[in-house]
């Protein structure tokens, strides 16, 4: 029982009960289902497992999934920050309309988004035509995947930064200005450090979402072996071939890498926050 008690006696009641609920639901919703991946993989044996997950096609798909998700997350961090800035700092007609637009990627079935992108960026589509002139291929290329993932991850960044930015008192910026700082210095030295944890959280969420994204990507990626096959697609194609163990093996590695990255980012954030408390 010791394990479930706070270090000191807590004034807030209900620690045991709420902790119990938390553990129970996390188990029911996250741990138990995900552990099935693990248990499905075990019967496979070590050799075939290694063989499956180090197959060149699979490795290429991991590389693609993580790199495209990373690029998209970085892009989202920049654009998301700008968008949040505009939404928080300026009052203009249509602001609420814009604000609602931000959430749309959450609501839209991702396959719909994928199809929209595919039409828009295809060599005969509105935008694809223009890019084709410059010899830039978006559809059937990693670029296309990044475009789709940017769309999917965007709301995470905006929504995590918005409340933090709203909290920043105007006085802080005024103080910096009175001390001789330019707008850029104020942003760089005062605001950015303040927003950084939220920015990191938002981008992490966008990144995590990007790794697992399937629906929107498969329509735009073209799914060329070794080139534009993402990891979730590898899992799907193994399932299509009734190779359940192989699918679990690929999923397990994906899961382990994602989880350790999230843990790492959380640790960075914890360390960032600690000093100022």
């Amino acid at each position: 029982m010791e394990l479930f008690q706070g270090k000191r006696r807590n004034i807030l009641p209900g620690f045991g009960l709420s902790m119990g609920y938390t553990v129970f639901y996390l188990s029911a919703i996250v741990i138990v289902p995900l552990s099935m991946i693990f248990f499905n993989t075990i019967p496979m044996g070590w050799e075939p497992f290694l063989h499956t997950v180090t197959a060149p096609r699979v490795l290429a798909s991991y590389r693609l999934s993580f790199s495209t998700a990373l690029f998209a997350a970085i892009f989202d961090a920049i654009v998301g920050l700008l968008t949040a800035w505009v939404l928080v700092r300026y009052r203009f007609a249509g602001r609420q309309f814009l604000d609602a637009l931000v959430d749309l990627p959450f609501a839209l079935p991702t396959a719909v988004a994928g199809i929209c992108f595919a039409t828009l960026y295809s060599p005969v589509g509105w935008l694809g035509e223009t890019f084709a002139k410059w010899n830039i291929e978006i559809i059937n290329s990693p670029t296309g995947i990044v475009v789709a993932l940017i769309f999917i991850g965007f709301p995470f960044v905006v929504r995590t930064i918005q409340p933090v930015l709203e909290e920043v008192e105007q006085e802080i910026e005024e103080a910096a200005q009175c001390l001789g700082a330019t707008r850029w210095q104020t942003f760089r030295k005062i605001l950015l450090p303040h927003l950084f944890p939220a920015l990191l959280t938002g981008s992490t969420l966008a990144f995590a979402r990007g790794i697992g994204e399937y629906g929107s990507v498969i329509f735009i990626a073209g799914n060329l072996p070794m080139k534009t096959e993402i990891a979730p697609l590898m899992i799907m194609s193994k399932l299509d071939q009734f190779d359940y163990a192989g699918a679990s093996a690929v999923a397990l590695v994906l899961l382990l890498i994602s989880f350790s990255m999230l843990l790492l980012l959380n640790a960075v954030q914890e360390w960032q926050q600690k000093e100022y408390r």
């Binding site: 008192e169 200005q177 009175c178 001390l179 001789g180 700082a181 450090p193």
Partner: protein
């Protein structure tokens, strides 16, 4: 002249925050802008700092027209009511900020910055906290750091916006005295905004009383307190009893009571007037010593430390009168609720302005 304000006007939608304000502050002077909240005093301070632009008028700092300069080029130190320290920076980094953002050519060396910050923190008695973060400091300590930060850039003028109002009474008083002492040491031209008359009286070389975007009166604390030019200033500078009456034939009626009108109002025609008496300028005794003494009954006794507050119902007066007496007198006269006493109004001020309280 340290600061010259010429005909500053600022309108916000629906009201005029500042109405043609002109004000001079001598170099090295410590001036208080005193007024009720919403009177425009903070707006005026922000305009001097460049955080707000006036609709018309000029701001001249040390002979240089700075009306249209952005805040970062004005070289003013600004201290905010809620400190506005940079939370993510240490005390050292906070104070060093103004030096570190200087263009490369003007920026002091690392060691010079270190030295200056240490010197300033010593000056505000915060050198022990150099490595702390603002969240680890109390309100009073934060405000000291904020002051050191503002002074780091060698400002031409120091502007303080209700610097002590977020602090508790004891700390406020302590910091007030400390700031006065500090100002005597460094002599930087300073303006502070306050709604606390005690703070203004104690701290300032000169008080500027502002009401509804206009300057009502300016002068030394002594002048303003002893010779208020109108009812507003008198009322704002301390607790008062107000009597609405009439002036007639050189006499002012207060209830059933009459007092001589002040010289300048002796020959005025009959008109409405207001008479004011400060609670501590009311005498209380057990025996009637003068014809004009009022008979009263103590309705309430408030123990306020060294002073005792009495609420008196006086014959011929509609509203009760507040008086403040020394504790010693209170004990000597053995006063208590319900006791009968005689009340003398020692210093009655009469104004005929139409100012309403």
């Amino acid at each position: 002249m340290g600061i010259e304000l010429q005909n500053i006007t600022k309108k916000f939608t629906g009201y005029t925050a500042l109405d043609n304000i002109s004000l001079n502050v001598a170099s090295g002077e410590l001036v208080a802008l005193l007024g009720p909240s919403g009177c425009g005093k903070t707006t005026l301070l922000r305009i001097i700092a460049g955080l707000e632009l006036p609709d018309s008028g000029k701001i001249i700092l040390e002979q240089k027209d700075t009306t249209n300069l952005p805040p970062r080029k004005k070289n003013v130190g600004f201290v905010f009511q809620h400190y506005a320290l940079f939370r993510r920076l240490t005390v050292f980094e906070n104070v060093a900020f103004g030096l570190k953002v200087l263009p490369m050519r003007e920026r002091p060396s690392r060691s010079a910055i270190q030295e200056r910050v240490e010197h300033l923190l010593k000056l505000v008695q915060m050198d022990w906290a150099i490595k702390r973060y603002p969240s680890q400091l109390s309100g009073g300590q934060r405000q000291r750091v904020a002051l050191a930060r503002a002074l780091a850039v060698n400002p031409k003028v120091l502007l303080l916006d209700e610097p002590f109002s977020a602090l508790d009474a004891k700390v406020r008083q302590e910091l007030r005295r400390w700031l006065r002492k500090l100002h005597d040491e460094i002599h930087v031209t300073s303006i502070f905004v306050t709604h606390d008359q005690e703070e203004a009286l104690e701290l300032a070389d000169r008080i500027v009383v502002i009401n509804k975007g206009r300057i009502e009166q300016q002068g030394t604390p002594q002048e303003v307190y002893d010779h208020p030019v109108n009812a507003f200033v008198y009322n704002f500078l301390g607790n008062v009893n107000v009597f609405h009456g009439r002036i007639k034939n050189g006499k002012v009626t207060l209830g059933t009571h009459h007092v001589d009108a002040p010289d300048e109002l002796k020959h005025t025609e009959e008109r409405a007037s207001q008479a004011f008496v400060r609670p501590h300028e009311i005498g209380i005794s057990r025996i009637r010593s003068a014809e004009t003494d009022l008979a009263g009954t103590i309705q309430e006794v408030r123990i306020m430390g060294g002073q005792i507050g009495l609420n008196l119902a006086c014959e011929g007066f509609e509203h009760p009168i507040d008086a403040e007496i020394q504790r010693e007198l209170y004990l000597n006269l053995q006063l208590a609720k319900g006791e009968k006493v005689f009340v003398s109004l020692n210093r009655v001020r009469v104004f005929t302005s139409d100012y309403e309280i």
